[in-house]
Amino acid sequence: MKFLIAFGFILLIVVLFITTYVLNNRTEKPDIDIDIEGCGGCHNINCGHHPTHLTNKEAK
Protein backbone atom coordinates (compact mmCIF):
# COMPACT_ATOMS: atom_id res chain seq x y z
CA MET A 1 0.00 0.00 0.00
CA LYS A 2 2.70 2.46 1.04
CA PHE A 3 4.75 1.42 -1.95
CA LEU A 4 1.82 2.21 -4.20
CA ILE A 5 1.50 5.69 -2.72
CA ALA A 6 5.22 6.29 -3.12
CA PHE A 7 5.08 5.15 -6.71
CA GLY A 8 2.03 7.27 -7.41
CA PHE A 9 3.60 10.34 -5.85
CA ILE A 10 6.79 9.98 -7.86
CA LEU A 11 4.78 9.44 -11.02
CA LEU A 12 2.81 12.57 -10.25
CA ILE A 13 5.83 14.81 -9.85
CA VAL A 14 7.58 13.29 -12.86
CA VAL A 15 4.53 14.15 -14.95
CA LEU A 16 4.50 17.62 -13.37
CA PHE A 17 8.15 18.16 -14.25
CA ILE A 18 7.75 16.95 -17.82
CA THR A 19 4.68 19.14 -18.29
CA THR A 20 6.37 22.29 -17.00
CA TYR A 21 9.50 21.52 -19.01
CA VAL A 22 7.63 21.06 -22.27
CA LEU A 23 5.48 24.13 -21.68
CA ASN A 24 8.57 26.16 -20.91
CA ASN A 25 10.35 24.96 -24.03
CA ARG A 26 7.43 25.89 -26.19
CA THR A 27 7.18 29.41 -24.77
CA GLU A 28 8.93 31.86 -27.02
CA LYS A 29 11.98 33.64 -25.67
CA PRO A 30 11.37 37.40 -25.60
CA ASP A 31 13.27 39.30 -28.29
CA ILE A 32 15.98 40.92 -26.20
CA ASP A 33 19.74 41.20 -26.39
CA ILE A 34 21.45 38.81 -24.08
CA ASP A 35 25.19 39.07 -23.76
CA ILE A 36 26.09 35.48 -24.65
CA GLU A 37 29.81 36.14 -24.38
CA GLY A 38 29.50 37.33 -20.85
CA CYS A 39 27.15 34.55 -19.81
CA GLY A 40 29.60 32.39 -18.00
CA GLY A 41 27.30 29.49 -17.42
CA CYS A 42 26.00 29.09 -20.95
CA HIS A 43 28.13 26.04 -21.61
CA ASN A 44 26.08 24.31 -18.96
CA ILE A 45 23.49 22.07 -20.58
CA ASN A 46 20.66 23.55 -18.58
CA CYS A 47 21.20 27.11 -19.73
CA GLY A 48 18.46 28.20 -22.10
CA HIS A 49 21.02 29.56 -24.53
CA HIS A 50 22.95 26.35 -24.84
CA PRO A 51 23.44 25.38 -28.52
CA THR A 52 21.42 22.18 -28.09
CA HIS A 53 18.23 24.06 -27.31
CA LEU A 54 18.77 26.56 -30.10
CA THR A 55 19.15 23.91 -32.82
CA ASN A 56 15.97 22.20 -31.62
CA LYS A 57 14.02 25.40 -32.03
CA GLU A 58 15.52 26.13 -35.44
CA ALA A 59 14.70 22.64 -36.61
CA LYS A 60 11.07 23.33 -35.79
Binding site: F17, I18, N46
Partner: protein
Protein backbone atom coordinates in the same frame (compact mmCIF):
# COMPACT_ATOMS: atom_id res chain seq x y z
CA UNK B 1 40.42 0.30 -35.33
CA UNK B 2 37.52 -0.14 -32.96
CA UNK B 3 39.79 -0.82 -29.99
CA UNK B 4 41.79 2.26 -30.85
CA UNK B 5 38.72 4.42 -30.86
CA UNK B 6 37.43 2.97 -27.57
CA UNK B 7 40.82 3.57 -25.99
CA UNK B 8 40.70 7.16 -27.25
CA UNK B 9 37.31 7.70 -25.71
CA UNK B 10 38.61 6.27 -22.45
CA UNK B 11 41.70 8.47 -22.22
CA UNK B 12 39.89 11.63 -23.29
CA UNK B 13 38.03 11.58 -20.04
CA UNK B 14 41.24 11.28 -18.08
CA UNK B 15 43.52 13.81 -19.74
CA UNK B 16 42.21 15.96 -22.54
CA UNK B 17 38.78 16.60 -21.06
CA UNK B 18 39.40 15.94 -17.38
CA UNK B 19 36.19 17.01 -15.66
CA UNK B 20 37.84 18.89 -12.81
CA UNK B 21 40.92 20.55 -14.27
CA UNK B 22 39.78 21.15 -17.84
CA UNK B 23 36.00 21.28 -17.95
CA UNK B 24 35.60 22.74 -14.44
CA UNK B 25 32.55 20.62 -13.74
CA UNK B 26 31.81 18.90 -10.47
CA UNK B 27 33.59 21.49 -8.35
CA UNK B 28 31.37 21.15 -5.29
CA UNK B 29 32.48 17.65 -4.32
CA UNK B 30 36.01 18.48 -5.45
CA UNK B 31 36.27 20.96 -2.61
CA UNK B 32 34.05 19.39 -0.02
CA UNK B 33 34.95 15.72 -0.15
CA UNK B 34 38.71 16.02 -0.48
CA UNK B 35 39.60 16.36 3.19
CA UNK B 36 40.81 12.78 3.18
CA UNK B 37 41.90 10.28 0.56
CA UNK B 38 39.35 7.69 1.74
CA UNK B 39 36.50 10.12 1.15
CA UNK B 40 37.87 10.97 -2.28
CA UNK B 41 38.03 7.29 -3.25
CA UNK B 42 34.51 6.73 -1.96
CA UNK B 43 33.09 9.64 -3.88
CA UNK B 44 35.08 8.71 -6.98
CA UNK B 45 33.79 5.15 -6.99
CA UNK B 46 30.24 6.38 -6.42
CA UNK B 47 30.45 8.79 -9.33
CA UNK B 48 31.97 6.13 -11.59
CA UNK B 49 29.07 3.85 -10.74
CA UNK B 50 26.43 6.49 -11.44
CA UNK B 51 28.17 7.69 -14.61
CA UNK B 52 28.55 4.17 -15.96
CA UNK B 53 24.98 3.11 -15.23
CA UNK B 54 23.41 6.34 -16.40
CA UNK B 55 25.44 6.42 -19.63
CA UNK B 56 24.51 2.83 -20.43
CA UNK B 57 20.81 3.21 -19.61
CA UNK B 58 20.48 6.48 -21.47
CA UNK B 59 22.33 5.10 -24.46
CA UNK B 60 19.96 2.11 -24.54
CA UNK B 61 16.83 4.22 -24.49
CA UNK B 62 18.09 7.04 -26.68
CA UNK B 63 15.97 5.99 -29.63
CA UNK B 64 12.79 5.42 -27.68
CA UNK B 65 12.58 8.71 -25.81
CA UNK B 66 11.00 11.70 -27.49
CA UNK B 67 13.40 14.49 -28.39
CA UNK B 68 11.58 17.09 -26.35
CA UNK B 69 11.50 15.34 -22.98
CA UNK B 70 15.08 14.09 -23.01
CA UNK B 71 16.43 16.23 -20.22
CA UNK B 72 13.65 15.50 -17.71
CA UNK B 73 13.99 11.77 -18.36
CA UNK B 74 17.76 11.97 -17.84
CA UNK B 75 17.27 13.78 -14.53
CA UNK B 76 14.81 11.15 -13.32
CA UNK B 77 17.17 8.33 -14.22
CA UNK B 78 20.15 9.98 -12.56
CA UNK B 79 18.16 10.79 -9.41
CA UNK B 80 17.01 7.17 -9.11
CA UNK B 81 20.57 5.88 -9.52
CA UNK B 82 21.83 8.25 -6.84
CA UNK B 83 19.09 7.12 -4.46
CA UNK B 84 20.18 3.52 -5.06
CA UNK B 85 23.80 4.47 -4.38
CA UNK B 86 22.80 6.31 -1.21
CA UNK B 87 20.87 3.33 0.10
CA UNK B 88 23.75 1.00 -0.73
CA UNK B 89 26.28 3.23 1.02
CA UNK B 90 24.07 3.65 4.07
CA UNK B 91 23.77 -0.11 4.37
CA UNK B 92 27.29 -1.33 3.66
CA UNK B 93 29.73 1.55 4.17
CA UNK B 94 28.23 3.51 7.04
CA UNK B 95 31.44 5.31 8.13
CA UNK B 96 32.12 6.59 4.64
CA UNK B 97 28.47 7.57 4.29
CA UNK B 98 28.56 9.57 7.51
CA UNK B 99 31.68 11.49 6.55
CA UNK B 100 30.27 12.65 3.22
CA UNK B 101 26.59 12.68 4.04
CA UNK B 102 25.90 16.09 2.49
CA UNK B 103 27.55 15.44 -0.86
CA UNK B 104 26.03 12.11 -1.86
CA UNK B 105 22.60 13.44 -2.87
CA UNK B 106 24.48 16.24 -4.65
CA UNK B 107 25.87 13.70 -7.12
CA UNK B 108 22.45 14.07 -8.76
CA UNK B 109 23.17 17.64 -9.77
CA UNK B 110 26.79 17.00 -10.62
CA UNK B 111 27.18 18.68 -14.00
CA UNK B 112 29.46 15.90 -15.25
CA UNK B 113 26.76 13.25 -15.28
CA UNK B 114 24.06 15.25 -17.00
CA UNK B 115 26.63 16.81 -19.30
CA UNK B 116 28.00 13.47 -20.49
CA UNK B 117 24.52 12.04 -20.85
CA UNK B 118 23.53 14.87 -23.13
CA UNK B 119 26.81 15.22 -25.02
CA UNK B 120 27.75 11.58 -25.49
CA UNK B 121 25.36 8.91 -24.29
CA UNK B 122 22.39 10.24 -26.20
CA UNK B 123 24.34 10.01 -29.44
CA UNK B 124 26.40 6.83 -29.16
CA UNK B 125 25.96 3.13 -28.57
CA UNK B 126 26.01 1.45 -25.15
CA UNK B 127 29.57 0.12 -25.28
CA UNK B 128 31.10 3.46 -26.26
CA UNK B 129 28.97 5.27 -23.70
CA UNK B 130 30.02 2.85 -20.99
CA UNK B 131 33.70 3.38 -21.82
CA UNK B 132 33.21 7.14 -21.86
CA UNK B 133 31.42 7.02 -18.53
CA UNK B 134 34.17 5.01 -16.89
CA UNK B 135 36.85 7.23 -18.43
CA UNK B 136 35.22 10.42 -17.19
CA UNK B 137 34.62 8.86 -13.79
CA UNK B 138 38.23 7.80 -13.48
CA UNK B 139 39.37 11.27 -14.58
CA UNK B 140 37.16 12.77 -11.91
CA UNK B 141 38.51 10.36 -9.30
CA UNK B 142 42.08 11.13 -10.28
CA UNK B 143 41.34 14.83 -9.84
CA UNK B 144 39.78 14.18 -6.43
CA UNK B 145 42.73 12.01 -5.41
CA UNK B 146 45.24 14.67 -6.46
CA UNK B 147 43.52 17.35 -4.40
CA UNK B 148 42.89 15.15 -1.37
CA UNK B 149 46.45 13.79 -1.47
CA UNK B 150 47.91 17.25 -1.01
CA UNK B 151 45.28 18.40 1.43
CA UNK B 152 45.56 15.40 3.70
CA UNK B 153 49.34 15.19 3.48
CA UNK B 154 49.98 18.84 4.25
CA UNK B 155 47.07 19.22 6.61
CA UNK B 156 47.36 16.21 8.86
CA UNK B 157 50.58 14.56 7.75
CA UNK B 158 48.93 11.17 7.41
CA UNK B 159 47.44 9.43 4.38
CA UNK B 160 44.83 6.83 5.20
CA UNK B 161 46.26 6.33 8.66
CA UNK B 162 49.91 6.14 7.67
CA UNK B 163 51.76 9.04 9.30
CA UNK B 164 54.23 10.42 6.77
CA UNK B 165 54.96 13.90 8.06
CA UNK B 166 55.19 14.39 11.83
CA UNK B 167 52.20 16.22 13.25
CA UNK B 168 54.34 19.15 14.37
CA UNK B 169 55.17 20.06 10.77
CA UNK B 170 51.65 20.01 9.38
CA UNK B 171 49.73 23.03 8.12
CA UNK B 172 46.21 22.48 9.51
CA UNK B 173 44.67 25.14 7.32
CA UNK B 174 44.74 22.71 4.43
CA UNK B 175 41.93 20.71 5.99
CA UNK B 176 39.72 23.79 6.01
CA UNK B 177 37.91 25.65 3.26
CA UNK B 178 40.88 27.93 2.61
CA UNK B 179 43.13 25.00 1.85
CA UNK B 180 40.55 23.53 -0.50
CA UNK B 181 40.35 26.61 -2.70
CA UNK B 182 44.10 27.09 -2.57
CA UNK B 183 44.93 23.50 -3.54
CA UNK B 184 42.41 23.42 -6.35
CA UNK B 185 43.58 26.78 -7.68
CA UNK B 186 47.25 25.85 -7.65
CA UNK B 187 46.65 22.41 -9.18
CA UNK B 188 44.49 23.90 -11.93
CA UNK B 189 47.21 26.46 -12.60
CA UNK B 190 49.83 23.71 -12.85
CA UNK B 191 47.60 21.79 -15.27
CA UNK B 192 47.25 24.95 -17.39
CA UNK B 193 51.05 25.37 -17.38
CA UNK B 194 51.40 21.86 -18.73
CA UNK B 195 48.71 22.40 -21.36
CA UNK B 196 50.18 25.72 -22.49
CA UNK B 197 53.60 24.07 -22.73
CA UNK B 198 52.19 21.38 -24.99
CA UNK B 199 50.33 23.94 -27.08
CA UNK B 200 53.45 26.07 -27.49
CA UNK B 201 55.50 23.04 -28.51
CA UNK B 202 52.88 22.04 -31.04
CA UNK B 203 52.83 25.52 -32.52
CA UNK B 204 56.64 25.60 -32.69
CA UNK B 205 56.63 22.26 -34.51
CA UNK B 206 54.03 23.46 -37.00
CA UNK B 207 55.94 26.67 -37.65
CA UNK B 208 59.17 24.73 -38.18
CA UNK B 209 57.44 22.45 -40.66
CA UNK B 210 55.97 25.42 -42.50
CA UNK B 211 59.37 27.06 -42.71
CA UNK B 212 60.88 23.80 -43.97
CA UNK B 213 58.26 23.40 -46.71
CA UNK B 214 58.73 27.00 -47.78
CA UNK B 215 62.48 26.57 -48.06
CA UNK B 216 61.99 23.29 -49.92
Amino acid sequence: MKTNSLFNIFTTGIFKENPIFVLFLGMCPALGVTTSVTNAIGMGVGVIFVLLMSNVIISLIRNIVMEEIRIPVFIVIIASLVTLLEMFMKAYTLDLYNSMKVFIPLITVNCIILGRAEAFASKNGPVKSAVDGVGMGIGFMIGLLAISFFRELLGTGAIMGVQIIPVAFTIPIFTTAVGAFLTLGVLTGVMMVYQNYKKDNKEKLEKAQEAKSEVA
